[in-house]
């Protein structure tokens, strides 16, 4: 089906691997306007077209790979595409976006996405060109790692592949494109369950803009803004996400010994500064990215992608490992096997503590790692104790006990920020639609600890409203095909020049602490309350408008994020996966003896969050809210 909007290619593919049938999948322009694309639109498709309660690893389950209008448009940081399905790890919505080149090539073939159902009777890959999609034999690829698989496919195509972990249905198997991962929620296992080893795409179609000159001008100033910003123009390019190791450690929030402490005495040894000084060969970026936060390091004589902050924490401090070279090596090994490093590292930390407490018989130990390389292979191939760890921390706790120190939310292993030192992160982890994800949570640690202006990280005041704002904007940015790192520039570079010890900084902090009510009221009057664009801080809505021809405003953009967050919530309600809880360790055990346990702040924040969201006391969106957002009134088929 064609579209009146530019930026989109106007077509989606539908492939049934059981029957071999390839057809078009219709998306309406109304849904494009409401959900923009990527994860939000994918959830809408799942809600409309997939039965409730489905086994995510059954042939009937859908796997969606799709893009946003900005994907491949040459706007900054827009190689992002999305993979969505019901998560086999959590039973909730599963969505993971990726900066590899598959999405851009998919659009150049003339497609905004592909909806995959069924199960092939032997290993296959999907070959996409401008003429459509073909299902091809992948028997020769089965068993190969993600790098060899990509090398064996056609050169110069965009690729998206699984490794042995996906083939063996490891519950947190990821998909890899180039060296970038659609890492979270176990979507590689969904592909594996369909005997789908890979997708490749190659095309030459152009992505047109509705207002080419206006788009070009807006993109140029956006790139300038990112390059001149202290975070996106200096810290991330020079130190990568690894720059966070020291600040998060000093904030008493760096997971240490399975989240039993928030500080690691050897944090400097696994930090971004050490990585830059001793191991960094160069930095790298996804297509069209001026930030270039990626690290290139050398492992076994080969230049490969270096670890992100999450991997450094969960394979460093959280298992008491101060050897960064080992983390580089394991990171590479997990990318080849197709394992999500966050869930994998977190679950290994849990397994070590289970062993330490005598609840699990294994050789795993904090601080000694002769076993690690073999264990990662065993997880990916489901051998021995690796088979248990492959199920994730929630399933392991059900088998061996230790639920209170199995550090997951909604079944997804929590990322590398301890919420006891950043209570807004605690709220975010608990309510996050995909589970213990720092991004989907709203990343409040930036507002509470690391950003240029900060709120009291132990106070519950105004955290509900700010969490909602952050979640909505991240949702909208992801839906558009843009990297959320562009949102760091929302805190304008001028704010980075404010004297932290000065009066103005103190006033801003106080104002943020009492701003919840104002934020709440602003949200209530969206979209007409913000009929403007603010390119100096949030260029996304202006650029989407120039590209697509939609009458996009900041208000509409933020409301699209709110809509996406709500439909994901409705998916979880439908699947019985909408319980908003945190592990007992977070709620009851103190990191700082001077502070009350996190459960005290959670008891205040959670009802406040539901209220701001327009959800009932059990966390279900009210009919009035859904009607206001237009959820349920459009018709994807």
């Amino acid at each position: 089906m064609a579209t009146k909007f530019k930026g989109y290619m106007g077509n989606m593919l539908k492939v049934n691997l059981s029957t071999g049938e390839v057809s078009e999948f219709d998306v309406t322009d109304r849904d494009r306007e409401l959900y923009i694309g990527n994860k939000s639109l994918a959830t809408k498709i799942l809600m409309d077209n997939q039965k409730a309660g489905i086994d995510p690893l059954s042939p009937e389950a859908m796997l969606i790979v799709n893009t946003g209008p900005l994907t491949g448009s040459n706007a900054p940081c827009t190689s992002r595409f999305n993979v969505s399905a019901k998560s086999p790890l959590t039973g909730a919505i599963g969505a993971s976006n990726c900066g590899g080149d598959f999405g851009v090539q998919l659009k150049r073939c003339g497609y905004d996405g592909i909806v995959i159902t069924g199960k092939a009777d032997k290993p296959v890959y999907i070959d996409i060109t401008e003429k459509g999609a073909e299902i091809k034999d992948a028997s020769h690829l089965w068993g190969l790692d993600t790098e060899k698989t990509q090398e064996a496919l056609s050169p110069k195509t965009g690729k998206l592949v699984i490794g042995p972990a996906g083939e063996n249905l490891v519950k947190y198997a990821c998909l890899i494109s180039q060296e970038r991962a659609a890492g979270r929620c176990g979507l590689g296992a969904v592909a594996g369950s369909k005997n789908l080893k890979a997708l490749q795409a190659k095309g030459a179609k152009k992505i047109e803009a509705a207002d080419p000159e206006g788009f070009k001008k807006a993109v140029k100033s956006w790139i300038d803004m990112l390059k001149s910003h202290p975070t996106t123009g200096e810290t991330l390019p020079k130190y990568g996400t690894a720059n966070l190791v020291n600040p998060i450690n000093l904030s008493n929030a760096l997971p240490t010994a399975n989240f039993s402490r928030g500080r690691y005495e050897d944090a400097e040894m696994i930090s971004g500064e050490t990585l830059a000084e001793k191991y960094l060969v160069k930095n790298m970026g996804c297509l069209s990215c001026p930030i270039r936060c990626g690290r290139v390091v050398e492992v076994d004589g080969k230049q490969v992608k270096g670890p992100e902050f999450e991997t450094l924490g969960l394979f460093g401090s959280n298992i008491l490992n101060n050897d960064l070279a080992l983390i580089n090596k394991w990171n590479r090994q997990m990318d080849l096997l197709g394992l999500d490093t966050i869930s994998c590292g977190n679950t290994i930390g849990f397994a070590i503590e289970l062993t330490q407490k005598g609840m699990l018989k294994s050789d795993l130990k904090f601080g000694e790692f002769g076993w690690m390389e073999q264990l990662l292979e065993d997880i990916a191939h489901r051998r021995g104790i690796g088979n248990d760890i492959a199920e994730g921390s929630r399933a392991m706790a059900r088998k061996y006990g230790g639920e209170e120190f199995a550090i997951n939310a909604r079944g997804l292993e929590v990322a590398c920020y301890d919420p006891r030192s950043s209570v807004g992160m605690g709220l975010g982890y608990a309510v996050s639609n995909r589970g213990g994800c720092h991004i989907n949570a709203g990343y409040m640690i930036f507002m509470e600890r690391t950003g240029p202006v900060t709120m009291d990280p132990y106070s519950s005041a105004s955290k509900a409203a700010w969490t909602v704002f952050q979640q909505n904007i991240f949702e909208a940015v992801s839906a558009s095909g843009n990297c959320i790192f562009t949102t760091y520039a929302i805190m304008h570079k001028v704010l980075h020049r404010i004297n932290k010890r000065g009066l103005l900084s103190k006033i801003i902090s106080k104002v943020l602490g009492v701003s919840g009510l104002a934020m709440d009221h602003t949200a209530m009057i969206l979209p007409w309350g913000m009929p403007i664009n603010m390119p100096v801080m949030i260029p996304h809505s202006l650029v989407i408008g120039k590209l697509t021809g939609m009458k996009m405003t900041l208000g509409k953009f933020l409301q699209a994020g709110e809509r996406g967050y709500n439909i994901e919530r409705m998916f979880n309600v439908r699947e019985g996966a909408a319980q908003d809880t945190l592990p007992g360790r977070f709620m009851n055990e103190k990191l700082d003896p001077k502070r009350p346990p996190l459960k005290a702040a959670m008891a205040k924040m959670l009802p406040g969050y539901y209220k701001v969201r327009g959800w009932d006391a059990t966390g279900v969106p009210k009919k009035k809210k859904l009607a206001k957002l237009g959820i349920g009134i459009s018709a994807s088929k």
Partner: protein
């Protein structure tokens, strides 16, 4: 009586501007350290310094007495520019 001797550690961009990861200096309070740094490093360093988070040992000075926080021998000040990642 001599002022306390403290260690001052720099991180990310500030480390690059300082050209070293740490220095030792004598000062009675955080304000004294800041004054010392401002007079011993260049303009670029000072511009970044203003916006930095400061921790005394393991506590952010916003939870202590801010720049007026008193120091003692052996203390470590950690100075970090605002940042992000994820």
């Amino acid at each position: 009586m001599d002022k306390p001797e403290v260690t001052v550690r720099f991180y990310t961009a500030l480390r690059a501007r300082a050209g070293t990861d740490e220095i030792a200096c004598r000062a009675a309070s955080v304000r004294g350290v800041l004054r010392y740094l401002k007079s011993n490093f260049g303009n670029d360093f000072n511009k970044t310094l203003n916006s930095c988070h400061i921790f005394l040992n393991e506590e952010n000075i916003v939870f202590l007495r801010g720049a007026s926080t008193k120091l003692k021998d052996g203390d470590t000040l950690h100075i970090l520019p605002p940042t992000g990642g994820g």
